[in-house]
Symmetry: C2
Subunit: 191 residues, 2 copies
């Protein structure tokens, strides 16, 4: 039943290392709605897997409880569509663990694509990334919670994606909305 | 400072009449994150105003309290970017009140554009709607909470927008993500 995009595309929501308002490194808390919203968008666009990444064990437990309610428990019977979405979620302790998991399923590790509201000089455009996805090799787009991904994580990524917009100089979307827009731009009429 | 899209575009989040899972008419509860996420997207894309519509007085009070915290209170000092977004919010009791408000500011009422996850035979495409927006006349896009806008409301609208996707047959985005994607498709590289 489950139909996937022909792109071998994965997404991840990073809770550490991210930055706070002052630019300090923090571990953010797992949020119920982030999981639901991004899982629903991922399912809508035929994304292969959605990784929720946090090094904090209790936060992984919380994420597992949320997901379990909808995939195994009463929530899934009540709302099978929500189950279909949350079945895409994998919970890991680190980006390395996520990369290893995707590598194990694909025979090669994914190229990591960082997202950021600031423009990096060598950033990929959306069309340019879509072209690379046409090769069928696995790619993992990472989104940061709080005030965004830590710069070290961005600069260590194979690819940096251009920001969604410098629209009117204001660029402060929620990570939920940003993730949905990125998937839409890459996969709308291309999947 | 505030820069707007050249489109005279407004958005509204409707809490009544919407339908529940069984298709029954309900009034849904105002949600903090809906207000924040849609206001932030509206500000990002240069939308003129964002109307939160509910006939329930206590729910309007709750919405006013959330907005007031960020526009007038401590929240605004703490996070001026959030204030800029939430300043777009207007709280009304009905779609008629919202239309009258926009008419008062523009000399003509807005054409109402309904959104729906199902495809109506005479639905507008995104490009087609963008062409109409080029005229500069006011338009109001309405989004439904819960399981979506009541069919009567959709059918009474001047325009019905095509669904975001029949991607892989799954089309269950959150209203927050759907609203962000609609704004992106209409205003990205057009504003």
């Amino acid at each position: 039943m489950k139909t996937l995009s022909r792109f071998n595309l994965h997404v991840a929501l990073i809770h550490y290392p991210v930055i706070d308002k002052k630019g300090d490194t923090v571990a953010s808390a797992v949020t119920n709605l982030d999981l639901h919203d991004i899982a629903r968008a991922a399912r809508t666009y035929g994304i292969r897997s959605f990784h929720v990444i946090t090094p904090l064990e209790d936060q992984r437990g919380l994420a597992a409880k949320i997901v379990g309610h909808w995939t195994g428990g009463a929530g899934g019977d009540h709302n099978p569509k929500r189950r279909e979405a949350l079945e895409l979620v994998k919970i890991t302790a680190s980006l390395d663990e996520t990369r290893a998991l995707i590598a194990g399923e694909n025979g090669e590790p994914p190229a990591v694509v960082a997202t950021c509201a600031r423009r990096y000089p060598d950033a990929y455009g959306f069309d340019q990334l879509a072209e690379r996805l046409e090769t069928g090799s696995p790619h993992l787009i990472i989104f940061g919670t709080a005030w965004g991904l830590h710069p070290d994580l961005i600069e260590a990524s194979e690819i940096i994606l251009e920001p969604i917009g410098d629209h009117q100089g204001y660029n402060h979307l929620s990570v939920r909305c940003a993730a949905a827009i990125v998937m839409d731009r890459l996969l709308m009429s291309r999947s």
